[in-house]
Structure formats: structure tokens, C-alpha cells
Amino acid sequence: MSSQATTQPQPGRYLAYAWRSLLVSIWFAILTFPIIVIRANTITGTITWRWHNIGWIVGGTFVGSWIWRYFLERKRAGAEATMGPLRQRLAAARAVVTQAARRPAVARGGIAALLLLVVAFPFVGGMYQTNIMTTALLYVVLGLGLNIIIGLGGMLHIGYIAFYALGAYSYALLNLHFGLNFWLALPVGALVGGLFSLAIGIPVLRLRGDYLAIVTLAFAEITRLVLENWSSLTFGTAGIRNIPRPAIAGIRLTLPQTTTFVYFIMILMVVLTIFVVNRLENSRIGRQFVAMKEDFIACQAMGVNIARTKLAALGLGGMWAGLAGVVFAARTTFINPASFTVWESIIVLCTVVLGGMGSIPGVITGALVLILVPEYLRAFAQFRMLLFGAVLVTMMVFRPGGLIQKRRRAYTISAQEKQVAAEIGDPGIQG
């Protein structure tokens, strides 16, 4: 570990850090002064000075800046330096795990253990935990669906929640007027989500990047506002009540039983989604998505019909949102437009990016982390959104590729092939 010296800052640098951190904390003390310290009551015309807050700011930013600087330095050095001891051990552990997972017996055991955990969860965790987990699973499906559009297709979509809303409303309304049951509503919801996604996709085929982003956001907001204002159809902001929970024909389930039942429906749906997305990724059309994401023009030159590929990605992605929407409506039994705001779209987007775009385990982890962590942080209810924001920024600065980064299927070149390449002088393979 000769290069350790470059990754580990020398003592002298710590002092320099301290000086700069002190400057930073003074800067922040000045910066936050009016908002943190002064609280003006405009009605009574009184002012409260909260000087103690400044101490928190100075202390917090001093420590924070020190840590920040230290990690930023490490990240910068990390490019050429070797890994630290902890990371090395982690990498070694990971290698052992991947080696073990290759052996069928271990893999089967792992899957069985996971299955057991998943099945046992509602019976061990109780209703509250099951409910939270169901929400997280809904976001897993949403994340995986959006991943088709963003992670595979490379289209920045910030209006994904609209299809979720449409799925939920189509179940609620069809049930209200025609008594459609949950099971029939599932495919209908998926169809509605997919078709609307296509319908929105057609006019925006020419748009790219941020223009696409803002237009999808606009469509989502239009959807929400129409749901809110078209009271004769959607009952406006009052929403729709008493949406029936999913049921098995003829059997009446108690509330805890339904909760467990919905949980298992979600588990099945997640498994289905993973299966489909995984198959999609390695299919012809999935590769077209990735090609389109990587290089639009080269992809077109290779004979891929861009318009059709884009629409396919949008349609396939929208479907899952519609499907998840139906389950959402059935689970909460009450929906109103307030559940489908821009922020909801943004959270789904965050699950995808935070987890690791394009990577299925990444998106699952992202959704679980983003939904479960704030849920369990309820003790810090006041601060959790603040922390959430800070975590998003920190994650993007230090690990921009997400928690679990996508690994492409790579073709490894054997020694024999290298030799052949050397003989025929093909520089492309030798490297």
C-alpha cells in the first residue's frame, strides 16, 4: 500500500482543513443569520432573537465542512489511488459472495431464504410494518417502470405519476359506475396507463432532454388539475371514497387479512415486474432502448426506428404505473388528486437515479431506501425532509452513479483470443 499516503491526508493538511472549515462556518453563520436567528411576528410587530441557533450552525458547518472536504479529497485522489483497507475488505467480501452465488446450491439457498423472509414478513412484522412495506413495494414497481423510460430509454420523464393517477382513477371510477372488480381493473389500469403514455409520447417525439422533461411535467400537472377541477366526473378535490379492497370471490377478509393479501399481491407484482424488465433488457427492443440512450444518431444510422422505439419505451413504462395505480386505489380505498403531485413524480425519479439508473437491484434498493428510511425516521419527523434533501445532494456529489451501479454485460476476452489477435495484429482486441 505505497499509495496510501496520497489517499490519507497528512497531519499538516488537517490543520489547513481546520482553518478553511472555520472560514466556512463563519460564512454560514453570516449567511443563515437572518433566517435562523431572527423571527419576526408581523402581526404583533415583535421580534424574537434566537442567538443560540447560531452556535448550532457554526458547530455543525465546521464539522460538516471538515468531513465534506476530507471525503471530497479522497474522491479526487480515489481515481488513481488504490482502495482503502475498509473498501478492500468490502470488495473481497463481495467477490466471495459473487463466487458463492455462482454455485447453484448456494444460489438456491439464497433464494429460498429471501423467499422465506418475504413470506414471513407480514406475520412477523404486524400490520403497520406490512403497510409500509407495501408502499415501498408500490414504489419499487413505479421505479422499475420509470426505469424502462429513463434508465433504458434515456428519456428524462418527470410526469410519470400521471399514469399512476390514471390507473388509480380508472379503477375507482369504473368500479363506482360499472362495479368493475379489482382483478379486472388491473389489466384495464395497465392499458390506460400505457395508452396515455403513448398518447403523450406522440406529440413530444421530437423533443429531447430538458424539453421533454418539462413537457412531461406539464402533462402530469394538466392531468392533476383536470382531475381536480372536472368535478362532475372525478368528484374534484373531495376525491373518491369507499373503493373496494381486493377480495377473493366470496371470501370476506378482515382488515389485517386484506393488508397481508395486498402485500402478497404487491410481492407477486414486483416479481412479475422484475421478470419482465429483466427479459426486456436483454431483448432486441431492450437493446434498441439502450442504443437510443447511448447515441441517438448512431442508433438511427443502424436502422433503428427511433419513433417506434421511443413509443415502445413510453408505453411499456406507463403500463406499470397504471398497474400500480390500481393497487394503490384498492389499498387506500380513497383517492384524491392531492396524492399525485409533481413531488410524487420527483420521488419516483429519485428512486431510479439514487438506486442506480438502469440497474434492477439498484432501483429496488433505491425505492426501499427512499420510502422506508423516511418512514422509520418519523421520530425525527420535523427534520426528515431536510435530511432527505441533504442526502440527495450528498449522494449525487459522492456517488453520482447511484447505490448499485449498472453493470453492462461484458464480453471477456480469453488469453487464447488475445494471442490470436496479437498474431493477426488486431489492436482492437489486444487492449
Binding site: Y211, F219, N229, L386, G389, L392, M396, G401
Partner: protein, 300 residues
């Protein structure tokens, strides 16, 4: 006719406000191609700083005009400092990562700032003092213009002219344009790109704060959430005009302002935001890079 003029003036006011915000969006986008989601939060922080300062000053017993001037100036300086700090923390380290990382970072910043103000101040709506004094000569006009509307429009026009002059003729403006065309080349020619980017954030944030102070004294109330929708609307305006283009941002803002106010006035006020988003979609369908945006021709 008076009804029409009223709507026209209210559209103009809205447009001016959107323009003050959209300028910041478009300048930042022009240089680092980032949708600065937290821009609306800077506007909100500007409004809060002005509110706090105005309360302190009015208790200290200053007259209305000096309160307005001092509160706006300090709010601008503070917001500029926030913008500067934000760029250093959340955007500079991700400048070379993928575009989406920067966007998520901006979203995180936006959440953070909203909740920072919510925790440090309040989550309720606060009444905002009417900082803008009554102007006598407006009473003599045949149609209704409030002094707030007048001041907003005049300020926006002045700011726009100043910004255009700055970008067209000053040395700083020249380096900004150079950096937005090609950062590496600009760097090779001796432009301190980091400083130019920081400066762009500073200017954009200061104009946003000015917008925050003006609109808040017009609407009379603020809370920690006002920045979000205003930010989205301003972004819509910037895209409508062609993001990255300064005249485009201004034109887009006015188009958006009029669409909203005429749509609300003649059709239905429930669907006001729907009109705003619908006009965006319509224009982008026919002109995919906005009204005045340059079409993006990618060379292979």
C-alpha cells in the same frame, strides 16, 4: 374594453415576475445546462429575508421608501450569497457527472432549502408588508393599474435592459457567452470559467430575490412553499422562449403571463395553470426548441 385592459395589465405583471425568475434559469442553463430546480427556493429566501428585514426596520422606525430599498438590496445580496454557496456545494462537484445527477442534486437542494426555511421560520403563511408606496399619478389613468403592478413592470424592464447590456457589451458578459458556447475553449483563452459560473449564479439569484420581494408585496403573503410553483412556472417560461436565450426568456414570460391571465379571465380561472402548461406543450410541439431558441443540430 376595460376588462380586457385589466387582464392585459395583470398578464403583464405576471409576465414581469416570471421574467425576473426566468432570467436566472436561462442564464444558468445557458452556461452549465442545468435545470436549477432550487432557483425558486432562492426567490423564496429572498422574500423571507426581505420580510424579516422589513419587520426589523419598521420597528426601528424607518420610513417606507428606505425600508423598501434596504430590504430589497439586502435580500438581493443574501440571495446572491445563497446562490453562490449552493453552486459551490451542490453543483460544482457534479459538473462532470451525468446530467441527471446534477438535476437530482438540484432537487435535493430545493427540498433542503424549503425545509430549512420551514424549520427556522414557520410553515404558516406570513403576511407580507406592502412595501411599495402608492403612486399618485396612476390614479389619473383611464384603466386600473396599481402602484405595485407599475413598479413591478418598470423594475423588470430596467433589470432586463441592464442584463442585456451586461451580457452584450461588458467583459464579464463576453466571458459568459464564451463559456456557454464552449467551456474548454473559453478556459484555454484565459476565461476563469469557475468564476464566470459563480457569477452567473450570483446575478441570477439576485434577480430572483428582487422578483421575490416585488411579488410578495403584491400578493401580500408568503410561506416556505411559494418558490416551488413559481420556479416551475418560470422554468416553463424559459423553455417556452427557448432556454438559454435571454430575450427568449422575457418573451416566454410575457406569453405565459398573458395566456394565464386571459385564459383565467375569459374561460375559467380553475384551469389557469392548465392554460400555462397547455401553451407550453403547444408551442414545443410546433417549435421544439422554443420561440427564440436555436435549433439543436448535433454533428456526428
Amino acid at each position: 374594453m376595460n376588462y380586457f385592459l385589466g387582464l392585459f395589465v395583470s398578464g403583464l405583471t405576471r409576465g414581469s415576475i416570471y421574467a425576473l425568475l426566468a432570467l436566472g434559469y436561462t442564464m444558468v442553463y445557458g452556461i452549465i445546462e442545468l435545470i436549477n430546480f432550487a432557483h425558486g427556493e432562492i426567490y423564496m429566501i429572498g422574500a423571507f429575508t426581505a420580510l424579516i428585514l422589513a419587520s426589523v426596520l419598521s420597528i426601528a422606525g424607518l420610513d417606507a421608501i428606505s425600508i423598501l430599498v434596504i430590504a430589497s438590496l439586502v435580500a438581493m445580496i443574501y440571495s446572491a450569497a445563497y446562490g453562490f454557496t449552493m453552486e459551490k456545494i451542490a453543483y460544482k462537484p457534479v459538473r462532470n457527472s451525468q446530467r441527471l445527477s446534477a438535476l437530482i442534486s438540484a432537487i435535493g437542494m430545493s427540498l433542503f432549502l424549503q425545509n430549512y426555511v420551514r424549520l427556522a421560520q414557520t410553515s404558516n403563511f406570513l403576511p407580507f408588508p406592502t412595501l411599495i408606496p402608492r403612486l399618485g399619478f396612476l390614479q389619473q389613468l383611464t384603466f386600473q393599474v396599481t402602484s405595485a403592478q407599475f413598479v413591478i413592470f418598470v423594475t423588470t424592464t430596467v433589470v432586463m435592459i441592464l442584463l442585456t447590456l451586461l451580457i452584450k457589451f461588458s467583459r464579464v458578459g463576453k466571458s459568459m457567452r464564451a463559456a456557454s458556447q464552449d467551456k474548454t475553449m473559453a478556459m484555454l483563452l484565459g476565461v476563469n470559467v469557475n468564476r464566470v459560473i459563480a457569477l452567473t449564479f450570483v446575478i441570477g439569484s439576485a434577480t430572483a430575490a428582487l422578483g421575490g420581494v416585488l411579488i410578495s408585496s403584491f400578493t401580500g403573503q408568503i410561506n416556505f412553499y411559494i418558490g416551488f410553483m413559481a420556479g416551475i412556472k418560470a422554468f416553463v417560461a424559459a423553455v417556452l422562449g427557448g432556454i438559454g436565450s435571454i430575450p427568449g426568456a422575457v418573451l416566454g414570460s410575457f406569453v405565459l403571463g398573458w395566456t394565464e391571465s386571459f385564459g383565467a379571465g375569459y374561460i375559467s380561472s380553475d384551469y389557469e395553470d392548465v392554460f400555462a402548461f397547455a401553451i407550453l406543450v403547444l408551442i414545443l410541439i410546433f417549435k421544439p426548441s422554443g420561440l427564440l431558441g436555436r435549433p439543436e443540430n448535433k454533428k456526428v
